[in-house]
Symmetry: none
Subunit: 416 residues, 2 copies
C-alpha cells in the first residue's frame, strides 16, 4: 500500500515555511506500514492542484493533501476537489456546528468567511477538526482515498491521529514495518561499508539497509517489513545481533538518541557529575547538556575559557605550557579538564581547545585542529582531532567528539 503527500502553499515553495507536515506524515504513515511514494509541494492554483491530484491518485492508494483550506481568498483547494470528484458544495450541518463551537469557545464572532467554510462537498466524509474552523475531507473511489486537511500543523496532526489514521487502518490491510537505527562514529562511511559488506550482502530480502550520514556521525538504518510487528522486530534483532560484533566499538547510540542524552543517562545511572572547560566549543557542550530537562542532576557548570587569561587565572593553565606547546595542545587541555572538575567539584571534566576557523590556522596546526581531554580522579585522556574548514561544523564535531570521549571513559572505568 502506498501513499503520496501533496502540500499546497506558496510559503512552502519560497522557503518561508519548512515543510514539517510532510516529515510528520511520512514518519507516522510509514510507521503503520504504508510506503511513502512521493511528497509534492505545489502552488495554490487550480491547474497545479488538478494535475498533481490526477497523477498522484492514479499512482497511489492514498493521497493526503495538506494546506489550502483556510478562511482567506487564496485557498481554492475545496473547489478544485469538488471539480475533481465531480461533486458540489452543499451546506453541512456538522461542519457548521463544529465551527460555531470553536468560535464561541474563543469569544470570536462567526462571520461571512466562516459561513463559506460550512459549505462542504456532497460526496465527501467529514474529518472533524477539534482545534480549528476548517473541516477535513475524505473522498473515496474504487478503493482509492484522497484526504484533504488544513495546513496548520497542530490541526493536521490531531485530525490524523483521531480520525484519518484509524480510518486508514480499518480500510487497508497493512503490513508491519519496523525501523532500527544504529548510530556510529569514529569511522568514515566508506570504511564502514567495507567492514560490513559481507553482512550486508547476506541480508534477507525484506530487510533494507540505508546509510544516513550527518556531521561526524553515520546512522545505519535497518528497515524490515513483515506480516506483523513482532515478526519484523525479531528479524531485525537477528540481523543486528550478527552485525554488532563487527562494529560495536563504533556504536554510540540507537534510534533518535543524541550523544548528550546517552551521556546524560550514563552519568545519571552512575550518580556521576560533569563540568566542562570549553575554549573552541565556546559553551556548545554545556548548552547541549542543559537542553535536556533534568540535566541539573548531573551537569553542574562550566568555565568557558575563550581568552587565554581565563585559562590561566581560572583553570591554572601554566603560561609556560602555552608558550612551549601552544594553546591548542595536549598539555593545555589536560590541565583544563583536570582543573575544571576540581574547581566545580564534579566526577568528570571535559575540555576543548582548537582552531575553529576560518582564520587562525598554521602549517603545523591548520584550521580544524582540536585537542580534547576528559578527566576523572583516576584518568586523563587526551586526543587530537583534525576536522574541516567550516567553523560551525568544527564546533559541532568537537562537541560531539568530546561527549563521545566522555562516554568511552565512563564505560571504561565502569568495567574496571
Amino acid at each position: 500500500m502506498n501513499v503520496a503527500l501533496l502540500s499546497i502553499g506558496d510559503e512552502l515553495l519560497i522557503g518561508k515555511t519548512v515543510n514539517t507536515n510532510a516529515s510528520w506524515l511520512g514518519e507516522h504513515l510509514s510507521a503503520i506500514g504504508f510506503d511513502i511514494s512521493c511528497v509534492e509541494t505545489i502552488s495554490d492554483n487550480r491547474e497545479s492542484i488538478v494535475n498533481s491530484l490526477a497523477r498522484l491518485s492514479a499512482e497511489s492508494n492514498v493521497v493526503i493533501v495538506t494546506g489550502g483550506l483556510g478562511p482567506t481568498n487564496d485557498d481554492i483547494t475545496k473547489l478544485v476537489l469538488c471539480e475533481f470528484f465531480q461533486t458540489e458544495l452543499v451546506f453541512n450541518q456538522q461542519a457548521y456546528e463544529g465551527m460555531v463551537r470553536y468560535a464561541t469557545a474563543r469569544n470570536q464572532e462567526v462571520n461571512a468567511q466562516n459561513l463559506t467554510q460550512a459549505q462542504f462537498p456532497k460526496s465527501a466524509r467529514l474529518v472533524p477538526n477539534p482545534c480549528g474552523t476548517a473541516s477535513g475531507m475524505w473522498f473515496e473511489k474504487d478503493q482509492h482515498v484522497v484526504v484533504s486537511l488544513p495546513g496548520v500543523p497542530s490541526e493536521m496532526k490531531r485530525m490524523m491521529e483521531e480520525s484519518v489514521i484509524p480510518w486508514l487502518r480499518s480500510m487497508f490491510d497493512l503490513p508491519a514495518i519496523v525501523h532500527r537505527h544504529i548510530n556510529v562514529a569514529d569511522i568514515a562511511e566508506s570504511k564502514l561499508a567495507e567492514i560490513i559488506a559481507d553482512w550486508e550482502s547476506a541480508l534477507p530480502s525484506q530487510v533494507h539497509l540505508a546509510y544516513l550520514p550527518a556531521a561526524g556521525v553515520v546512522k545505519l538504518r535497518l528497515s524490515c517489513k513483515a506480516e506483523n510487528e513482532q515478526l519484523a522486530r525479531a528479524i531485525i534483532a537477528e540481523q543486528e545481533e550478527k552485525l554488532m560484533p563487527q562494529i560495536s566499538q563504533y556504536v554510540w547510540g540507537y534510534d533518535d538518541e543524541t550523544i548528550e542524552e546517552v551521556v546524560g543517562n550514563l552519568l545519571l545511572s552512575q550518580g556521576a557529575t560533569v563540568a566542562t572547560a570549553e575554549s573552541c566549543t565556546g559553551g556548545t557542550i554545556s548548552a547541549k547538556l542543559t537542553r535536556i530537562s533534568g540535566s541539573s542532576a548531573y551537569y553542574w557548570g562550566s568555565v568557558i575559557s575563550y581568552d587565554n587569561s581565563v585559562k590561566i587565572n581560572e583553570l591554572q593553565v601554566a603560561p609556560s605550557d602555552i608558550e612551549n606547546y601552544g594553546v591548542v595542545s595536549e598539555a593545555v587541555v589536560r590541565t583544563m579538564a583536570s582543573q575544571v572538575r576540581k574547581k566545580i567539584g564534579t566526577t568528570y571534566g571535559v575540555a576543548t581547545s582548537g582552531i575553529a576557523g576560518p582564520t587562525g590556522g598554521s602549517a603545523e596546526k591548520p584550521v580544524g585542529t582540536v585537542w580534547i581531554a576528559v578527566a576523572s580522579d583516576k584518568n586523563v585522556v587526551a586526543k587530537r582531532f583534525q576536522f574541516g574548514t567550516e567553523r560551525e561544523h568544527n564546533v559541532e564535531k568537537a562537541a560531539f567528539s568530546a561527549l563521545r570521549m566522555l562516554q568511552l571513559l565512563i564505560l571504561q572505568e565502569q568495567n574496571n
Copy 2:
C-alpha cells in the same frame, strides 16, 4: 523563469530528515527572481528518478536535484542521470583531485568506493565541492538546466553559493527582486501592525510587505520587483525612511543579522568586552557569541553556573539571597552579572537565571519565568521576563533578550 526542486532520499519520505534543503533552495532561488514551480521528494530508485526528471525538466527551465550522491550503494542518482542525458561515466581528473585533497586533509585513506566517485558523466560540467567528496553535476540541453548536488546541507549550500547561483545568474535574464528585512522585538505582531497601518496602506503597488514572526522577534520583509536592482533599492529605501521614525525604538537589526552579530559589532566598535554568567541558558549565549569568527576580540569567557554551588563559590552570590529571594530573582542575577565581569575582567557582564521547564515552576514563579541582568562599571540593569512553557523556546528567548538588553545598555552608555 521557473525552477523545480527534486529531493531524493528515503529518509526524507519517511520523515527521519526534515527537508530543509528545499526551503533553503526555495528561499535563495526566489530571492534572485526565479519562480519555484514545485518541490518533489522521491525514493532513491531508477524509475522514480527518471519519471520525475522527465516531467520536471519539460515543465521548468531549471531542475535542482539534491541527494543520492554519497559513496555507498544506495546512491544511484549519477547512473540514472547518465542514462537520462544519454552520456557515460568517465574518469574525471578534477573530481579525483578534489576528493584526494579532501581525504588527505582529514588523514583519511582514499579507498575503492571513493574511486567510483571520481567517475563522472562525460557531458556534464563539474560543480566543485569544497567541503565533501561528491562533486556536483551541471547538465545543459536546449536552454534547460539540470543540476545534481549532494544532499548534505552544508555541502549543497556552499556549492549553490559559489558555483550554481552565479552560473544561473549569468545564463538567465532574471528580473531584479530586492528584499529588505527590518528586525524588531519588544512588541507584539498585532500591536506593530496597528502602529504601521497607515504607512502600509500607502505603500506603492510594487512593494510588498510581509510579517515573519519567529521566537520573540518579528521580521518585517519589504520586497520590491523592478527593472533593475538599483531602482528596486531606491524604492525600498524611500519607504524605509518613512517607516523608521514610527518603529526605531523596537528595531534591533536588519536583514540576516543575528542579535549576537549586532552586539558583537557594537562591542568591537567600542573596543569593549563581555563575559556571561549563565544559569537557565546553560551556555547558549556563550555558544552563540563564539559561533562568530573573530569573537575572541570581544568575548573572553563565561561561568556557566547551573548548580547553586557554582553561583555561590564562583560568583559570590550570597546564600542568604538565594534563601530570601530564590535563585530566580533580581538580587541573584544582579550579583552574577556584576561578579562575572569583575572575575573575567571585561567591560560588560550578562547573567540569566530562570525556570526553563517543563518542570520546576510554582504559582509565584511559573515555568518560563526568567530574570536577566546586564552590568557595566557604571550600571546594572535587571528585568523579569515571562516566556512560555517549552524549554527549548524559553532558552532561545532568554538568550535573545539578554543580548538585546546588552545592546540597549551599550547604546545608552554610548549616548551619555
